[in-house]
């Protein structure tokens, strides 16, 4: 498959650039990639990194899942029902630009310092990205599709199921792709406090100990995690948006 080859080459080029930079900089803060790759491979095979990777994956996935469950129905509704859209959109515009990360103290008071606070913060930030994209997607559906549904005698619920959701699905998947990047970035932030698991913790901990090889192993693992999530999304898209291929 050509795509796998392309990814392989892209990874190789990035590693080569990293190597060049490491040699030029000659600093502890940027270890040579082969040291990091050996460390990564060792920790993956002996299992010491697997738990952290799994915990981080679950936090990211749970956050995105929670956001999806709330943002998609609301986005479809706000984008389709003109009257609701008019009333709700101002709230979205006012709340979206807030740096939601600053709500962390409040979230901790409400939900404690456990996993749920971390997941909730990821969900909160990603929620708005998915909401706005879903709403815009639903709003862009041509009126004639609705006319067509009406002439076929569709009920409101059927219109959502057979028209609004499938028409918006490609946009929702795009939003999820953006969300993956965002959620991994937030993951680092939420795993830098009150936890001893997860890739974010590994990075912070290695940083504190000035163990730069481990630090970059953590960073590489995060890249790997994001990459796996992207691949998962591609699979889902191939499955649910078959009609888009070849367009």
């Amino acid at each position: 498959m050509g795509r796998k080859r392309d990814i392989f080459w892209a990874a190789l080029i990035l590693l080569a650039l990293w190597q060049v930079c490491a040699l030029l900089l000659d600093s502890m803060a940027l270890p040579q990639p082969w040291l990091v790759m050996v460390d990564l491979a060792t920790k993956l095979t002996n299992g010491s990194l697997i738990d952290d990777l799994a915990v981080s994956s679950l936090r990211a996935l749970a956050g995105i899942g929670l956001a999806l469950a709330a943002a998609v129905p609301l986005g479809l509704l706000v984008g389709t029902e003109e009257q609701i859209g008019k009333r709700v959109s101002p709230f979205i515009y006012l709340l979206y630009p807030i740096p939601h990360v600053v709500l962390l103290p409040l979230i901790i008071i409400l939900f404690g310092i456990g996993n749920f606070s971390k997941i909730f913060l990821i969900a909160l930030i990603v929620f708005f990205q998915i909401l706005v994209t879903t709403r815009d997607g639903a709003r862009a559906i041509h009126r004639n599709y609705f006319h067509s549904m009406k002439t076929l005698g569709a009920t409101k619920l059927q219109i959502y199921r057979h028209l609004v959701l499938p028409a918006t699905l490609p946009k929702i998947l795009t939003a999820m792709r953006i969300s993956v990047g965002t959620s991994v970035a937030i993951l680092f932030f939420v795993e830098s406090f009150a936890t001893t698991t997860g890739l974010g913790y590994i990075i912070m901990d290695s940083w504190g100990r000035a163990d730069y090889v481990s630090l970059y192993t953590g960073i590489s693992s995060m890249a790997l995690l994001g990459f796996m999530l992207y691949m998962l999304l591609d699979r889902i898209e191939q499955h649910v948006c078959r009609w888009m291929s070849g367009r």
């Binding site: 004639n144 599709y145 006319h147 067509s148």
Partner: protein, 247 residues
Amino acid sequence: MIKVSSASLSFEHDGQFQNVLDDISFEIEAQDSCAIIGPSGCGKTSLLFLLAGILQPDSGTLAIAGNPRCGTILQNFGLFPWKTVAENIGLGLTLKNIDKDRIRRVVDQLIEEMELAGFGNHFPGQLSGGMQQRVALARALAVEPEILFMDEPLSSLDALTRERLQNLILDIIQKRKITTVLVTHSIEEAAFLGRKIIILSRSPAQILKVVDNPSAVSSEYRLSEQFFQQCIRLRELLKGEVNGQEA
């Protein structure tokens, strides 16, 4: 029987009301075939939307005797690109929660009849314009309509495909004994498929003339002297309107 009595319709555009239909009255007998023709932008589509129940008149009434089943073919964006040909054709039945086996039988038969064999699992985007319109026809026919509404179903097709589909529609009208209402901007199409031809004025549309065309809906008619005379007559009637628009 379809009876329209002094129907008027206006749209709000940039805060101003624009009249689209102005005091329209006519009748179409059951099992008759009626063509509606007029200058482009005159409100033909709006009139069809009114008949098909997509729009409601601002004043006047629309009465369709006996609450018949209706099939509608819209000009653009009628087929759902995310549904396969078979799913599109069966959609009207799916929405009525009819059991899957029966839907499959109806769909298979229509696929055969509309010469779409082998394309049931294709998506509309993978088909030619002519094939897409045959899918649209099949979908409208799947609900076994007593009235068939068509909005410029053939306007985007090349001449040969157009003629082939006109013959197909002719076949449908002859075999199924249904009432058909066809909106078109093609004089030949109106003369070929409309036993009753309603000529609309330029916008806001009023009825300019109702022409009886009893020989229509037969394949021999297309090549007869009478057909050409009728086309010339229709052209003369329309010409005044189009010239007036340009002035």
